[in-house]
């Protein structure tokens, strides 16, 4: 029945719709092909824990096409500080979300990276430099020692992903169904150095 519909209205459909439908019936396991965290570490700078991380972003064709057509791509860095426990699951101490928007400025032909939490933005001549800048996290304050008592064995889990919910509404179904849009890194763990 669905195949018949595709034949009738074939002019309006693209082959990847079939792929998405097939994906619906398969397991929706997230793939971390596009984003990976190469390194991460923390430091204590005068009572403030800071995070340094090197994240590599490799955008898929679909995402690139959307980006170059004016769609803003939002990346989200999730940072979880946890205290491991032997007998129970890890206790969450703090959770931090950092969101960055990447968009193309057609007039200047540059890519703009905007830090959504601070509102600051920077433009880059090329996408590569923009992504590089996006992936270079330096001295990001994540916790103030004076506010929260941190146990010595606390660890930091971090993960970066493309936030599909921030996409324009019509693009969302495609993004939810397509693995091209599933840009998400594995969880990376590093100790919280005091």
């Amino acid at each position: 029945m669905i195949a018949a519909d595709f034949r009738v209205f074939g002019a309006h459909f693209r082959p990847y719709y079939l792929l998405t439908l097939a994906l619906l019936l398969s397991t929706g396991k997230a793939l971390a092909l596009g984003v990976s965290i190469d390194a991460a570490s923390t430091q204590n700078n005068k009572g403030v824990y800071q995070l340094n991380a090197d994240i590599r972003y490799e955008l898929s064709e679909e995402v690139l096409e959307a980006l170059n057509n004016g769609v803003a791509i939002t990346m989200q860095l999730t940072i979880n500080i946890k205290r491991p426990r032997a007998y129970l699951w890890d206790k969450s101490i703090a959770t931090l979300l950092q969101r960055y928007a990447l968009k193309y400025h057609a007039l200047s032909g540059q890519y703009i990276v905007q830090f959504l939490s601070s509102g600051k933005q920077r433009s880059y001549l090329s996408l590569a430099s923009a992504l590089r800048a996006l992936g270079r996290v330096r001295e990001l304050p994540i916790l103030n020692q004076t506010v929260i008592q941190v146990p010595p064995n606390a660890v930091v889990h971090l993960r970066s992903e493309l936030d599909t919910n921030a996409l324009p509404a019509p693009l969302r179904p495609v993004a939810w169904l397509s693995r091209e849009w599933k840009l998400r890194s594995e969880w990376f763990t590093c100790p919280l150095k005091s």
Binding site: R14, L24, G28, E65, G70, L107, S108, I112, L171
Partner: protein
């Protein structure tokens, strides 16, 4: 338990409610799904879940329909009534539902795509591209001017050391109109800078790529968006190296764009970007809408198909019931009642059918019961007829024998079954002695009125007197013209009447004769006594002989009169239950040592039921018969043999004991059997002729019968039959003792 659970589950999954609920849920899910594409944030996360739920629901609908299709196919293959009609209705419903929905779907999708496409126009796109291009080219000429200016400024700072450059930069910045001017050293570190806006402390830093370009000798000029400031023109040039102690340095100048220019550029950028995004999103938008629409179509069609199944089944069910009911009625089962489907025309039809079968059933039951009554009546009549002692026959108009009873056969001594359905003439031709009987019947029947006649038949059994009555039957068409004939054998009755008359004669005779005999005898003896001695010897001899003769004859006459008297007198019979064999044994004991050489052959049935009889009378009977036989054989044979045989017999529901006495004498030698038992009939000299008459009387007193016939070896044979005591069982063990 499991079976019941399965049944409930099946009912839940196949019932109309579940399908309706499923359809409504799916519809709701579709609504939410379409909402999700319209930025309804609350359901955003559940988009995939919703989609999967809908697909599972659709799969369930498909499986339900498939189950229905399979069931229908099986019913169709099995040739069940109603399956063909269901299929036709189903196809009709499906066609009616699917075609319009499909047409609407086609046009909806087409309209949707055209509608979305119509938002976009190639000319607008081109205009936007052109405006962007125009903006760029406008800015480009300015960029080139500014690049040239900055390159000249770079020459001016070429010989400035880092320490002295600050003042120079201020001057140059003011002169060139730049908002910010920064000198970077060889390590790409800010050497000195001049910023128009005093609030800004840190100078803006160009991209590393620009520095790389500079190191390759490529100067940079471009539009850049500066945080907090907005669009600016950034120019980065290489500072010529004129002194050996100086490294390769870069000079960056940020030139402001006029407010109007910035506004226009932002507007162009924003519009272009938005439009471009919309163009790009056109395809996913169509995809989302088409997917939702397709799912809605699938849901509608599947629901419609399922509803078609349900409706067709509901519609056809009463018709199927009616077909089955009609078949049942045709097969003779009128007890079939159909369930009432609804209060509509079909319901009315089913109700009428139920009424019809109910009435037919009632009528059939009535007919059956009346037929049973007729059968009972007939059986009753047949029973009455068969137990009648009178003979009954019916003859039809063609004088053929139609019905008869057992007594008719017995009275006529003919097997009437052989002539049933045949002409009564056949009866006459088969039994010559019935010729007279048939002749009179036919004669009377011609008169067609009620008649009565006494008919005397002569045959092997002797004279037989029948009283015959005929009635022409009227009334029912079938039997109209038939004649009912009833006849009775009154021979025995006449005989009894004659016997009674004889008894009366004998009694009177004995009474009248016996009275004067004694005075005669006494007178004769007195004469003899008085005058014998006084008379002369001659006269005395005459007197003596005469008186002796008188006395002797009177004695003889007395004996004869006594015998008459015995016959006539009927003493009270004393019935008691006894075994005939015992009585026979007792009597025979008297004859066993007979000097005349009498030989007795006795064969007594060991299984002998008891009879109700007067033992004394039975002894008299046996003595009479044995004496009779002995006397008959006295002069004819030297080896007299008497054989006695008893048997228990059963004939047409009547058990009786048979005693057969045979001798080897001359037999009845042409004596008429019917007259043998009449008083004063004798073939012997000196016999009173009352022996067999008394035998017959005794037998009749016991309710039995006696028959005289010639034995198989030529001797005489007497057969006596006595009824068995009713209370006596078939296996009477007392007789065995």
């Amino acid at each position: 338990m499991v079976y019941m659970s399965l049944k409930i589950l099946k009912r839940l999954t196949t019932g109309p409610t579940s399908a309706a609920v499923l359809s409504v849920l799916l519809l709701l899910s579709l609504y939410i799904l379409s909402g999700a594409t319209e930025d309804s944030a609350s359901f955003n996360q559940q988009y995939v879940v919703l989609l999967i739920t809908i697909l599972i629901g659709l799969a369930m609908l498909v499986s339900m329909i498939a189950a229905n299709v399979i069931r229908l196919y099986k019913r169709y293959r099995a040739g069940e009534p109603g399956s063909l009609l269901t299929t036709r209705l189903l196809v009709l419903f499906v066609v009616i539902a699917v075609i319009p929905v499909s047409v609407v779907y086609y046009f909806s999708v087409d309209f949707l795509h055209r509608g979305i496409d119509s938002w976009f126009d190639v000319r607008i796109e081109k205009a936007l591209d052109d405006s962007l291009e125009l903006s760029r080219s406008t800015l480009d000429s300015r960029l080139r001017d500014l690049l040239r200016t900055t390159e000249q400024l770079a020459v001016e700072v070429a010989d400035e050391s880092e320490a002295s450059a600050i003042l120079r930069l201020d001057d140059l910045r003011t002169r060139s109109g730049a908002s910010e001017m920064t000198l970077f050293d060889g390590n790409r570190i800010v050497a000195s800078s001049s910023i128009k806006d005093e609030i800004v402390i840190n100078p803006n830093r160009p991209d590393e790529a620009i520095f790389n370009d500079i190191s390759f000798g490529r100067n940079y000029a471009g539009l850049d968006t500066i945080p907090g400031v907005g669009l600016q023109i950034r120019v980065v040039v290489r500072v010529p190296v004129i002194r050996n102690d100086l490294e390769v340095r870069s000079l960056q100048s940020l030139y402001p764009v006029t407010a109007r220019q910035r506004e226009l550029a932002d507007s162009v950028q924003e519009t272009f970007s938005t439009y471009n995004e919309l163009v790009y999103l056109r395809s996913p938008l169509k995809y989302s809408f088409t997917l939702t629409l397709s799912l809605a179509l699938l849901l509608s069609i599947l629901s419609a198909v399922w509803a078609a199944f349900y409706t067709a089944r509901k519609l056809v069910a009463p018709i199927t019931d009616l077909a089955e009911g009609t078949q049942a009625v045709a097969a003779g089962d009128y007890s079939k009642r159909l369930p009432l489907p609804a209060n509509d025309e079909l319901g009315f039809l089913v109700q009428s059918f139920n009424q019809m079968t109910r009435r037919i059933e009632r009528a059939r039951n009535d007919e059956q019961s009346s037929r049973n009554k007729v059968d009972e009546q007939q059986a009753y009549q047949a029973c009455v007829l068969s137990n009648l002692s009178s003979g009954v026959m019916t003859l039809d108009a063609a004088q053929c024998l139609q019905t008869f009873n057992e007594a008719a056969s017995q009275i006529l001594s003919a097997d009437l079954r052989l002539v049933q359905g045949k002409s009564i003439h056949d009866l006459a031709s088969q039994h010559a002695r019935l010729g007279r009987f048939v002749e009179i019947l036919l004669e009377q029947m011609e008169k067609h009125q009620q008649w009565q006649e006494e008919i005397i038949l002569f045959g092997g059994g002797g004279r037989q007197m029948l009283v015959c009555r005929g009635v022409p039957m009227t009334g029912a068409l079938e039997t109209s013209g038939d004649t009912l004939i009833v006849f009775e054998d009154v021979t025995t009755l006449m005989q009894a009447q004659r016997n009674a008359a004889w008894g009366e004669v004998a009694r009177r005779l004995a009474h009248e004769i016996k009275n004067p005999l004694t005075p005669i005898q006494l007178s004769a003896e007195r004469l003899r006594h008085k005058y014998l001695d006084s008379m002369d010897p001659e006269s005395a001899e005459v007197l003596d002989r005469s008186t002796h003769t008188i006395v002797q004859q009177v004695e003889a006459m007395k004996a004869m009169v006594n015998a008459f008297s015995d016959y006539a007198r009927a003493p009270q019979i004393k019935l008691e239950s006894l075994n005939l064999n015992t009585v026979i044994d007792e009597v025979l004991d008297l004859y066993r040592d007979d000097e005349s050489g009498l030989q007795l052959k006795v064969s007594l049935d060991p299984v002998m039921p008891r009879v109700e009889a007067d033992a004394g009378r039975l002894r008299q009977l046996l003595h009479n018969l044995i004496k009779n036989a002995i006397e008959a054989m006295q002069d004819t044979t030297d080896q007299p043999i008497i054989s006695l045989r008893t048997l228990c017999m059963q004939e047409s529901n009547c058990r009786y004991v048979e005693l057969r006495i045979e001798d080897n004498g001359p037999g009845w030698s042409g004596d008429k059997e019917s007259e043998l038992f009449e008083p004063y009939v004798t073939s012997k000299q000196g016999g009173t002729g009352l022996g067999l008459a008394i035998v017959k009387k005794i037998v009749e007193e016991h309710g039995g019968m006696v028959v005289a016939e010639d034995g198989p070896d030529g001797g005489a044979s007497i057969v006596i039959r006595l009824p068995v005591l009713h209370s006596d069982g078939q296996d009477d063990t007392s007789s065995k003792s």
